[in-house]
């Protein structure tokens, strides 16, 4: 197993623990934590801080019957929510987003495929499939983009990204990721704004493909 070198920044893990990340990012972070013991440790450290804040909170009086009401419910049967485990290359949170199905790939040309998992006012989340040696069209970001590698690897001028690594794209980053030789690169990409492409042709296709 290759070592994960590119992690989620602390501020994002804190926001994830507190629940303030937009949903597409939250799914990427949950997926990365599922693969990365290092970031799981950091995430749980933020829970510890949350716990200290909770423990130090001024108490509020509880209604008289709440405790007895809860105690009588302890023996009631309940159905646990479905748990989505890892399936193949896809970590649990991705499997859950796919509702347990295989991705439904749509061809984008040049062997590149994608499956848009969500796209709304909070941003978008999609799976990308990039054949070895193939470039993702050069693009910059009007917002933030998180890309988690699930299979294969890609490189751009900032370095190499392998399984479990997360690349963070912000408005300052203009890059042309190229999938490395070997397995096709499959990654999970989240944005909080539409991507901007530099050349005219991809821009024309942008509304069509929503990439």
């Amino acid at each position: 197993m290759t070592k994960i070198n590119h992690h989620i920044p602390d501020s994002m893990l804190a926001a994830y623990a507190a629940g303030t990340l937009p949903q597409p990012f939250a799914i990427v972070v949950a997926s990365h934590i599922s693969m990365c013991a290092h970031c799981r440790g950091s995430y749980e450290a933020h829970q510890a801080v949350g716990g200290v804040v909770l423990d130090g909170t001024e108490i509020a009086k509880i209604s008289g019957d709440l405790k007895s009401s809860i105690l009588t419910q302890l023996d009631e049967p309940f159905t646990p929510a479905a748990v989505y485990d890892r399936s193949g290359i896809y970590p649990g949170p991705v499997v859950k987003t796919l509702k347990g199905n295989e991705p439904r790939w749509k061809t984008l040309g040049m062997g590149v495929r994608q499956d848009i998992l969500s796209a709304d006012s909070e941003g978008s989340l999609r799976l990308l499939y990039i054949p070895a040696g193939q470039a993702v069209p050069e693009h910059s970001h009007s917002g933030l983009e998180l890309t988690l590698i699930l299979q294969g690897s890609f490189s751009d001028h900032t370095g190499q990204f392998g399984i479990g690594d997360v690349e963070i794209g912000d408005p300052d980053l203009e890059h042309t990721p190229i999938a490395d030789p070997g397995d096709p690169c499959i990654c999970l990409a989240a944005t909080d704004a539409p991507l901007r492409f530099k050349s005219l042709v991809p821009r024309l296709f942008q509304p069509l493909f929503r990439i």
């Binding site: 197993m1 994960i4 920044p9 602390d10 501020s11 804190a14 926001a15 994830y16 623990a17 507190a18 629940g19 303030t20 990340l21 949903q23 939250a26 799914i27 949950a30 997926s31 934590i33 599922s34 013991a37 290092h38 799981r40 440790g41 950091s42 749980e44 450290a45 933020h46 829970q47 510890a48 801080v49 949350g50 716990g51 200290v52 804040v53 909770l54 423990d55 130090g56 909170t57 001024e58 108490i59 509020a60 009086k61 509880i62 709440l66 405790k67 809860i70 105690l71 419910q73 302890l74 309940f78 646990p80 748990v83 890892r86 970590p91 649990g92 949170p93 859950k96 987003t97 479990g164």
Partner: protein, 210 residues
């Protein structure tokens, strides 16, 4: 304080060595591990309702105060308190004292529940790592984690009022990650290392964790 001998071996037939280990653990446990952890382990391993009632008495008023701080009215806050406390009972098997203090674990359950209620969609969560029942308790790890919790508490208390307020706001879910990144953080390095040791302990046992 409640002793919790059984969960030391958790269903495994104790060997001679384990039994001796166990006795030491119980003594140490009663001396040092926090009440909340002992109650939570009694809930997890013995489904102890009296211990659950103790957890309720400790956490429910704090939870209600915490939830109301996020602007939720009292009645709705109590509904969340109820959901959280029932989850504590039902998902007790997921509590791992080598990685989390009870307050940390309940904090996350609370935020998850609040977000599910507010956003009406399911919050994405990482895959769970559940401690295998065959794994023996490591009291020194539990105690060290408790100590890290104390250090955090002190570090928080030593912040300026403005900084402390910012930390509270961040963990109450009132700041974006950009806003959090602009804050000077708490010294989290040592507790992270400690929690990673708790994870390392599982890593030897679990498949699929990378």
């Amino acid at each position: 304080m409640i002793a919790y001998e059984q969960n030391i071996t958790r269903g495994k037939k104790p060997t001679f060595g384990a039994r001796r280990y166990e006795r030491n653990l119980v003594e140490e446990t009663q001396k040092e591990v926090s009440d909340e952890t002992v109650w939570m382990l009694a809930v997890r391993d013995k489904r102890d309702k009296a211990a659950f009632a103790n957890l309720f008495d400790h956490f429910a008023p704090r939870l209600k105060g915490f939830i109301m701080k996020t602007g939720m009215p009292g009645e709705q806050a109590e509904e969340i308190v109820q959901d959280v406390m029932l989850t504590v009972w039902r998902k007790a098997a997921q509590f791992d004292p080598h990685r989390a203090q009870v307050s940390a674990w309940i904090y996350q359950i609370t935020r998850n529940r609040q977000i599910d209620v507010i956003r009406k969609n399911n919050r994405p969560l990482p895959e769970e790592l559940i401690e295998p029942p065959s794994l023996e308790c490591d009291i020194s790890q539990m105690l060290a984690l408790d100590q890290e919790g104390q250090h955090l508490r002190q570090a928080l208390a030593q912040l300026s009022d403005d900084q402390r307020l910012a930390v509270e706001k961040a963990y109450l879910g009132e700041l974006t990650h950009q806003e959090i990144s602009e804050q000077t953080g708490l010294p989290l390095g040592t507790i992270k290392s400690r929690i990673r040791l708790g994870l390392e302990r599982l890593r030897l046992e679990l498949k699929g964790l990378r």
